[in-house]
Structure formats: structure tokens, C-alpha cells
Amino acid sequence: MYYYIYDDFIATPKLQVKLADLESKLALLGIKGPVSRLHALTNINEVMRRAVVRGATTVIVVGDDRSLLKVLNALPNKKIVVGLITMGPQVTLARKLNIETVKAGIEAAAGRKLVPVNTGMINKFAFLQNVTITGGPFTAILDGTLTIKSDHPQSTISIVNPQLAFSKDKSSLFEAYLTPLKGRWSIGKVREEQISKLNFGKLVLKSQTSMEVVADGSKMINNKAITIDIVENAARLIVGRGRPEGNTIKQE
């Protein structure tokens, strides 16, 4: 059964015509289903629980990248298929899944082309694409075996999910890029030899100063310690037709 979750910003008068048009197209395709509308006080975990109780096997989010992440963070089990119909400002993820427009999202929802995706967990928050961490000096433990210490007073660590990035290294592990930040009075650019690149399954990161963390475009609470894990095949996403280069996801 298809179950629809409308994010809170969809409730604006500007989008009501689009929404009505969407609902009629879904009805024509025979994939209409119950709807839950999110608002500021909604508990998304409760919404997902109710969806499962009502028999939902496919949850379609109407919103943008952030909406999809809200649902992925509340997914009760891996059996639920998740789709997205984009109506909103943040569409980077939707573009990578080839569902950037409303029309593409509807066609994808009806076509049900599924791909299993890995997600990252950063202190129990799921992310799909990338995390940027700024702080330092860093100490990290990679996969429980390797200890990494950085001499640089301030660095940026960019963590990327290669499934959803145009990465040459096609692996199920995440990639971490550590780039030192130049001080205000430093001259010259960061050289290539100063940038580190690592693949990991689990990363424990500590910093002597509070870290600024941005996960999939959302800012997180500053911390001095972060744990990043990979959850393999954490979710099955509906994707659109065609596939960008560099994507390693196997079709089901």
C-alpha cells in the first residue's frame, strides 16, 4: 500500500494547486493512498509507526531532500520502500536519484525502480550524501584499528557516500577527505600533498575544540566527539529513469 507524507512547507497556498494536480495524477495511476501532513509539533516516528500499522509498504514523501531525510531517520524497518516527489528548494539528492521534477517523481513512484542505499549514522542521525566537519586538532580512530592524529590546528573533514557521489573509488565504504584550513595570515593554497583521503566503515572523531557539523545540508549541534557508522542497505529508495555516471547502486 502506498502511504504519503506531506512535509509542513507544502501547506502553503502557493503549492495547493500543484498538490491537487499531483493527487489527481496519482489517482489516475492507481497509486493513491492515505496521507499524513507534518507540522512543527508532529512526531515523525509516530507518523511512520501509524503508517506501518495501516499496512504501508511504500512511503512517498512529498517535499524536498530534508523531507526525505526526516523519513529515513524515522524508518521503522528496512522493508519499507521510500520514494520522493520533489516540491521544495533543496533538490540535490532528488537530482542524483533522477526525480528532480514532480513529473519524474510521479513516474518513478508508479514505476517502482528500487535501489538499496547505504546510509551513514552520525551520532544516531542518518545522512545520505555527505557530512562536513570543521574543527581541530583532530584525533580519529578508523575501523577500531588505526589511530590518526592531525597536526593542523584547524581542518575540514568531508565525508562522502560514494553511492551518491561521482567518485572514482567505487566501494561500499564511505570516503573521508581531511583538508587543513589555512590561518588568516598564511600565504598560498593548500597543496595536494596536504589533503588526506581515507575509506572507512566506522570513524570515531575527537577534536580539542567544538566541531561544526553539517550533515546533508543540516547543521547539527557542535560536539567534541563524533561517531560515524555505515549502515549497509539501510533503505530501499525509488529512483527515476536513467542513472548518473559514477553511481554504483545495483538495481533490484
Partner: protein
């Protein structure tokens, strides 16, 4: 259509210190410091300012920096002019540039008898 390829390139940049046993199926480029053991099936590159205190096993190597430990290379090792190896070296081919330094035994095994049994087993290198 979509292959899961495990070959990865790991880069340890300048100013980064790594401790522990590093192993994998890909290439490793070292521009910082590493203490431990290295066992990779790919290519090892040791940059000019890199400092490695480790026993090393790799398929190929290019050395511009400092290594203290035993080096076992399945194919070829190039020791460039700024390279400095303090330990024994085993490889099928060795190229040593003018200015490079090796303080240890050098064993060139052109029949490629370097196998798992002759490869160096991981053990702690004394600093």
C-alpha cells in the same frame, strides 16, 4: 552493470600521523607519518617528507621519503634520489637513483619467488 570494485586509494597527507596496521586491496600514498605495518596488494608511494616506521608488503613501490623497516615488494621498487630505507629490501626489480640511501640487505628476486611464505610477517618495528 554496476560492479562493486574494492580497489581504493588511500592518501595520508602531510601533518597527519597514523598508528596501527594498515592493510587493504588498493594503493597507498604517504606524505605524513605512519608507525605500524603496511600490507597492501596495490602500489605504495612514499612522499619526500614522509616518515614510515613499518614493515611493508606491497606489489609496487616508489620511495622518496624515509622508511625504517623491512620492505617486501612483489614487483618493482623505485628508490628516488631523496629516498632513504633503513632495513632489508626484497623485490623483483629495484631501481636506485643517485643520492638514494639503503642501509640493509637488498635481495633482487627476478624469478618472482616472493610469495606469502617469503613475504615479511607483521611484527613491531623498533624505533
Amino acid at each position: 552493470m554496476f560492479e562493486k570494485v574494492e580497489h581504493q586509494t588511500t592518501i595520508i597527507g602531510e601533518g597527519i600521523k597514523l598508528e596501527g596496521d594498515f592493510s587493504g586491496q588498493g594503493d597507498l600514498e604517504l606524505y605524513g607519518e605512519l608507525k605500524g605495518n603496511i600490507s597492501i596488494t596495490g602500489r605504495l608511494k612514499v612522499g619526500p617528507n614522509a616518515r614510515v616506521i613499518a614493515n611493508i608488503t606491497a606489489s609496487n613501490a616508489e620511495v622518496e621519503g624515509m622508511i625504517k623497516g623491512k620492505v617486501s615488494i612483489t614487483n618493482a621498487i623505485d628508490i628516488l634520489s631523496t629516498g632513504n630505507i633503513n632495513g632489508d629490501v626484497i623485490a623483483q626489480e629495484i631501481t636506485i637513483a643517485k643520492g638514494a640511501a639503503i642501509n640493509g640487505k637488498v635481495h633482487i628476486d627476478m624469478k618472482n619467488n616472493i610469495s606469502a611464505s617469503t613475504a615479511i610477517k607483521p611484527e613491531k618495528v623498533k624505533e
